[in-house]
């Protein structure tokens, strides 16, 4: 754990991650998503405990993205590295907390990594910090600092693999069957994706890949082949699914498993390429944490939470895929296909008047899509509607929802209990009978 290693993996990871995030922010901006996901919607779904996070006015929202991009860039350069990591963590996380409609596992991954980089000595090597004040430069770091990143990446893969150990995925090849079938027009592999055994092969291979890859990357003899598999796997997912930059983030993140000496050679080549050989830190000094106990406690707590939090769903009875209580923040990546439809009925008990809501007057199609399959969204939206219709003059509206959800190709069925007045349902502690039972069982984890 304490064995000194060349700090190249930390520096290489920092540079790659920072640049990737600069690219991600630019891409987000140029795709017009700042407007369409944050500024255009009149209502946003908030995370439990974070309803105080509100979308700032347009200049503020754009400013947030500028801050996020600049933080990522200065992190890549290693300029005031910890402050950059902190600023990236806060700005990026704040953006993610604005609306849970946009939740993606890889956004969570970005937040987590930015958080880790606040604590790790990523700026002491091949960085502006290290060249600016040379006495802060450190060539070596204790092994556990690099190990922390490797462990985090390993958790992502392993947990994604564990989540695939369920009967839908392994025995029905669902949802890959649904996802692959319509790809018949892809060049080269299109017709192949129509074959049932291919769906099973992809399901099983994907599971085996996720479960084994961290170990194969750790083991020197298999490392190069494992990394090749990482590249093939993620490029393939990029071709098949609309998953943005996630594959590239993971291809980059998995490089952290290469040995420190190898990564030092990459950085040496980079320093020659940039004609800045002095950037390659070579002072043979070892970094030591100023408060080792604090760091030890921090990292232990962090990883304990990382290991346990994804299993919180075990505390909640019922099928996780159905109620989704505990689905987020647990590396359930591309795991199920869920589609829904929710039709809200407003009843004015004073007049007996009843009518249905046109969701498109309140939500974007994307928000409506996410809302229709997730209980917490449905309840939050119902409370928003309650407030809206109270302002419209209905003193005590009752709100009911007729919602249907289809999961992994099963026929759609009633989802939320249509007889429950949602205005009476607490946002944090929903009653157990709020959801109608899922008429099937999915075995496994």
């Amino acid at each position: 754990m304490q064995e000194p290693l060349d700090a190249a993996p930390l520096a290489f990871f920092r540079i790659g991650f920072g640049l990737m995030m600069v690219f991600a922010v630019l891409r987000f901006w140029l795709n017009g998503w700042i407007e369409s996901l944050y500024l255009e919607p009149s209502f946003h779904f908030s995370y439990f405990g974070f309803s105080w996070v509100n979308v700032p006015p347009a200049w503020g929202t754009y400013g947030l993205f500028v801050l996020c991009g600049l933080s990522a860039f200065s992190l890549a350069l290693g300029y005031r590295t910890r402050w950059s990591a902190l600023s990236l963590f806060l700005s990026f996380t704040y953006i993610e907390l604005l609306d849970k409609t946009t939740y993606l596992n890889h956004y969570y991954f970005v937040s987590i990594i930015a958080f880790l980089l606040i604590w790790l000595p990523a700026g002491r090597y091949f960085s502006i910090d290290a060249t600016r004040c040379g006495e802060r430069a450190r060539q070596f770091v204790p092994r556990y600092t690099i190990g922390a990143l490797r462990l985090m990446v390993g958790i992502v893969y392993c947990y994604a693999g564990l989540a695939k150990l369920n009967s839908d995925w392994l025995l029905e090849a669902m949802p890959l069957k649904i996802w692959l079938m319509p790809k018949s027009e892809l060049p080269l592999i299109g017709s192949w994706l129509q074959l049932e055994w291919v769906h099973y092969a992809f399901s099983w291979a994907g599971t085996a890949f996720d479960l084994c890859i961290p170990f194969l990357l750790l083991w020197a003899p298999s490392r190069i082949w494992a990394y090749l598999a990482v590249v093939v796997f993620h490029v393939l997912t990029r071709v098949l699914f609309p998953i943005g930059i996630f594959p590239f983030v993971m291809i980059l993140a998995a490089a952290v498993y290469f040995p420190a000496d190898t990564q030092r050679k990459w950085l040496k080549r980079l320093s020659h390429l940039l004609a800045k050989p002095q950037w390659l830190t070579a002072n043979k000094l070892l970094w030591r944490p100023r408060r080792p106990n604090l760091l030890a406690i921090m990292l232990s707590c962090f990883f304990l939470i990382q290991l346990l939090f994804p299993f919180r769903y075990l505390l909640k009875p019922g099928e996780l895929f159905w109620h989704e209580d505990g689905y987020r923040f647990s590396w359930r990546v591309m795991l199920m296909e869920k589609a829904g439809y929710a039709n809200f009925k407003i009843v004015d008990p004073d007049t007996g008047q009843r009518f249905y809501v046109d969701n498109s007057s309140f939500l974007t199609p994307f928000q409506e899509k996410q809302m229709a399959t997730q209980t917490d969204f449905i309840v939050e939206y119902a409370h928003y509607l309650e407030q809206h219709y109270q302002e419209q003059g209905i003193a005590q509206p009752e709100i009911y929802v007729e919602s249907y959800v289809a999961l992994n190709g099963r026929q759609s069925q009633l989802y939320v209990n249509p007889d429950i007045d949602l205005t009476k349902v607490d946002r944090t502690f929903a009653p157990a009978d709020l959801l109608l039972p899922f008429g099937d069982t999915i075995g496994g984890l």
């Binding site: 790809k183 017709s191 049932e196 609309p242 996630f246 439809y341 009843r354 199609p365 289809a406």
Partner: protein, 367 residues
């Protein structure tokens, strides 16, 4: 370097596997999405436009005859071409894609309730530009409906107005010509350029033709057929019935027929039928059946067709005059709405999931 190397390996792996596959002759297992698009364009959509244009041309001719020689005979002839053309419109209304979407065809040809004050004001001033967005509810079939059936107290009074007011006859003519001209332009653009684009985009992305046409279909069924023709007049979204919001409000005899025609077109397209009812084996139903042979789930195409039938039954129970139906016995209208609603779930949730098509214009990453 390493990345480049890896990509090269990947590319060669992929091309190797596909060569292997071509030799295996497994392509017979494929549902041919490109063929589906060809069939939609050449066997369904373009013939439907051609059929409609015959009717709208007839409408134009009748309007000209009435303009030249206003009397009971020419008016009766125009009314009959109007009904024919309005019914014909129901089979192209759902193709709001490409050029039709660009010009906003549906919004100009069939926006109701029509703006009767605006129409009267237009006639009074004698100058109007139908291209302006403000004029969308002062033209199209609903405007003709008003002019031919509702512009005076009763049938004779309408005839009197038509005989005596050249401005009114001119408005009828201009409206008829506008419908024909709009649809002609859309069809010409289809033939000259859009067809090529439409049939070539056969992949499964947000902008591909299969996905867009499917989304447009769902949107039409949900917003225009279910809500526009039945739900809104029945007061589903307002709490109080709105009998003035039915289609063909003034004609009174046509409303239910238009609704039935629209339902038939929607079901017809679902089953890959052309305008004369011939199946070409390339409808949603065929694609669903194909996917189901692999997925082995519920027979969705049959469920949806059964539900179409149930909706038709419920609509058959309605009065010819839907406005009257809403006023007299809205319960039947609500029942028809419920039956239409059930298919929204099957089409929008189950069918879209089977096709792996996400709801329109959701342009964001997934994970």
């Amino acid at each position: 370097m390493r990345f480049l190397f890896s990509l090269l390996i990947l590319a060669s792996l992929l091309s190797y596997s596909s060569c292997d596959d071509d030799g295996g002759g497994s392509s017979t297992d494929n549902f041919d999405r490109a063929a589906m698009l060809l069939s939609w364009a050449d066997q369904v959509i373009l013939p439907a436009y051609a059929d409609f244009l015959e009717k709208s041309s007839e409408l134009q001719t009748s309007a000209q005859a009435l303009f030249d020689e206003p009397d009971a005979t020419t008016l009766a002839a125009l009314k009959s071409s109007f009904a024919e053309a309005y019914l014909g419109w129901q089979s192209i209304s759902l193709f709001q894609i490409g050029p039709a979407e660009q010009v906003g065809l549906r919004e100009q040809v069939n926006a109701y309730p029509t703006n009767t004050d605006g129409i009267e004001a237009n006639m009074q001033s004698g100058s109007y530009n139908f291209e302006l967005p403000s004029q969308r509810s002062r033209q199209g079939f609903p405007a003709l409906d008003y002019l031919l059936y509702g512009s005076a107290a009763d049938e004779t009074a309408v005839l009197d107005r038509i005989v005596n007011e050249a401005a009114l006859r001119e408005y009828i003519l201009a409206t008829s010509e506008r419908i024909h001209q709009l649809v002609s332009t859309v069809r010409e653009t289809w033939v000259s350029s859009y067809r090529q684009e439409f049939v070539s985009l056969s992949d499964n992305t947000a902008t591909s033709s299969v996905n867009r046409m499917t989304n447009d279909y769902v949107f039409y069924y949900e917003k225009f057929l279910r809500a526009g023709k039945v739900g809104i007049p029945a007061g589903i979204f307002s709490g109080t019935p709105l009998p003035g919001h039915v289609e063909a409000l003034y004609n009174k005899a046509l409303g239910k027929q238009l609704l039935l025609a629209a339902l038939e077109s929607a079901q017809g397209f679902f089953n890959g039928l052309d305008n004369s009812g011939v199946a070409h084996g390339n409808g949603f139903t065929d694609y669903l059946d194909f996917l189901n042979t692999v997925k082995d789930g519920a027979d969705l195409s049959q469920l949806i067709n059964t539900q179409f039938e149930a909706a038709r039954q419920a609509i058959n129970n309605l009065d010819d005059d839907l406005s009257d139906q809403v006023r007299e016995d809205n319960l039947l209208m609500l029942t028809a709405y419920d039956e239409l609603q059930r298919n929204v779930v099957l089409i929008k949730v189950d069918m879209l999931q089977a096709f792996n098509i996400s709801v329109d214009f959701v342009d964001a990453d997934g994970d």
